[in-house]
């Protein structure tokens, strides 16, 4: 019977991805140059423009230091700022892990008991829209100003809400067709959770994690502005600024930016491993 209809042309088509890869391989260098060169040029151009503007218009050092001055300060203070950066990043990452785990955990509970979800979500969305960072002095008071837990708890709370809200969305915004299909197999709610809802929520959660990395670094540094250990980046920045050592402050900001970007990229890498099938990943791969 099979031989009666040997070739449905369709079946023999190469899938698009294969054609794409074989096309790309030889011109790889050109593709990467085309993709990253514009950004690199703008970065370097921006620095040059900054340097020239400060020199030509003779802008005061305490308003805006020259990039070269900042780099020099970074070199002088290298040990201090990197140690402070690491100290603060530990707070940011620790808080992130706390907040993200709690967010995922609570979201999973709401998937099981939708009553909890319906009761909790309006408040979660409301709290998420408030400036939680304003709680930083309160947390300093609760945990003690030099206790890293004071900062981690702020970071945790800030990361918690977007993670929880997005995971709940990912667990509930499942296509009705997928649910009908699972029903047709007589699948249990647990099987539906594990095989449909959780995989469906992964792109939502990872998106929230990416937002969370940025928020966690901001939250750690800003809460340190309200006081904290002398080894902390936020404390260093506010002290140097108070002493008019602006090049040093900027050097520390450089460390903060770099750490935030690295943290973000870690999640991007996780995304590529966990959800390579998702449309957003394919856009990255093919764009």
């Amino acid at each position: 019977m099979t031989e009666t209809f040997p070739s449905f042309g369709e079946g023999t088509e190469p899938p698009p991805s294969v054609a794409y890869r074989s096309e790309l391989a030889p011109g790889l260098l050109r593709v990467y140059t085309r993709r990253y060169l514009p950004a690199a040029l703008i970065f370097v151009g921006g620095l040059v423009l900054w340097e020239l503007t400060v020199r030509v218009f003779d802008i005061k050092r305490f308003l805006l230091p020259r990039p070269t001055a900042i780099i020099a300060a970074f070199g002088r203070e290298f040990g201090t700022v990197t140690a402070a950066g690491w100290f603060t990043m530990r707070e940011a990452m620790g808080g992130f892990v706390l907040g993200a785990s709690a967010g995922v955990g609570i979201a999973l509970i709401t998937a099981r008991w939708t009553l909890i979800r319906d009761g909790l979500m309006p408040f979660a969305i409301a709290v998420n829209a408030t400036p939680i960072i304003a709680l930083a002095p309160i947390m300093n008071n609760w945990f003690g100003i030099t206790n890293p837990m004071a900062k981690m708890s702020i970071v945790g709370v800030i990361v918690f809400f977007p993670v929880m809200i997005n995971m709940v969305r990912g667990l509930s915004e499942v296509s009705p067709g997928s649910l009908e299909l699972m029903d047709s197999y007589g699948a249990s709610p647990r099987q539906i959770l594990r095989r449909v809802r959780i995989p469906n929520s992964l792109p939502y959660v990872l998106g929230a994690f990416k937002v969370g990395t940025t928020l966690s670094v901001i939250a750690a540094i800003v809460s340190e502005y309200f006081g904290g250990s002398r080894n902390a980046l936020g404390v260093y920045i506010s002290q140097q600024a108070a002493l008019f050592h602006f090049a040093e402050a900027w050097a520390a900001i450089l460390v903060a930016s770099f750490s935030g970007i690295v943290f973000y990229l870690v999640i991007v890498a996780v995304e590529r491993v966990v959800i390579p099938w998702h449309a957003s990943m394919r856009a990255v791969a093919e764009g």
Binding site: M1, F5, E10, S17, G177, L181, Y185, G186, R195
Partner: protein, 259 residues
């Protein structure tokens, strides 16, 4: 008719109660589908043909009447996995490879891994997609995705296959190839098929009986027995008998409009 039909509906009605008001989707449906039969449900939009299919599959409950599937309640038949279903959208899980999509129902049923893979591979053979086992759904064309959905629906060897406009989203050429393929599979495994469509040539090409439905509320307006010889192929589509049957179905559909 067959003493123990695959599907039997007696005075089945379905009313949807929504905020906007009551919609009478189906009224007084009496229908029997014999074991091994290929029955199409055809009618204009809103005639309740998809609703009827979901009632048979116990994805909806009837407001009145009784539904027996393999001589059991529709609910029991669903729990016993007596039917496989294919929708208009392939509804593949994008995070699973083609092979793992086909394995999904077997996983839900708790079959062991070796058996799952073996069965899924033979199903992919059946729909002629073996070499795409490791691909992801987005790498397949619409027609190929729908063939994966068919393989998935058949993977646990259900005695009944429910199909809800499965080729509605495909282009005409692919659609005709898929119809030929469904008939080939049907001949090969001898399953009962209930097939919802709004295409007259599709209904005539595929089925042994065409159930013509009228809308608001959905009723059975007439049944066209279709004795076109098997196996059917591309020559069937050009035969005079094919056109006669299409005319018969069309006139039954016109009768609805006149009424």
């Amino acid at each position: 008719m067959n003493p123990s039909p695959a599907v039997s509906l007696t005075r089945v009605s379905k009313v949807f109660d929504s905020g906007a008001g009551r919609v009478h989707a189906l009224a007084d449906i009496d229908l029997e589908v014999g074991s091994g039969e290929f029955v199409s449900l055809i009618g204009p939009s809103g005639c309740g043909k998809s609703t009827l299919l979901r009632l048979i599959g116990d994805l909806l409950e009837p407001s009145a009447g009784s539904i027996r599937v393999n001589d059991k309640s529709a609910h029991q038949a669903r729990v016993d996995r007596d039917y496989g279903i294919v929708f208009q959208q392939a509804t593949l899980f994008e995070w699973r490879s083609v092979l793992h999509n086909v394995e999904l129902p077997l996983e839900v049923m708790g079959r062991d891994e070796a058996e799952r893979e073996q069965t899924a591979r033979s199903m992919l053979d059946l729909v002629q997609l073996s070499e795409f086992a490791g691909h992801y759904p987005y790498q397949l064309s619409g027609g190929m995705q729908q063939r994966v959905a068919i393989a998935r629906a058949l993977s646990f060897e259900p005695s009944i296959l429910l199909m809800d406009e499965p080729f509605g989203a495909l282009d005409e050429m692919t659609r005709e190839r898929m119809q030929t393929e469904v008939l080939r599979i049907w001949a090969q495994i001898g399953t009962t098929v209930v097939f919802v469509t709004h295409s007259i040539p599709e209904a005539v090409f595929l089925s042994s009986r065409v159930v013509v439905m009228s809308p608001r509320p959905g009723r059975i307006a007439g049944i066209v027995n279709n004795d076109l010889p098997q196996p059917r192929n591309d020559d069937t589509r050009e035969s005079p008998r094919f056109y006669e049957k299409m005319t018969e179905v069309r006139e039954t559909l016109r009768g609805i409009e006149a009424a």
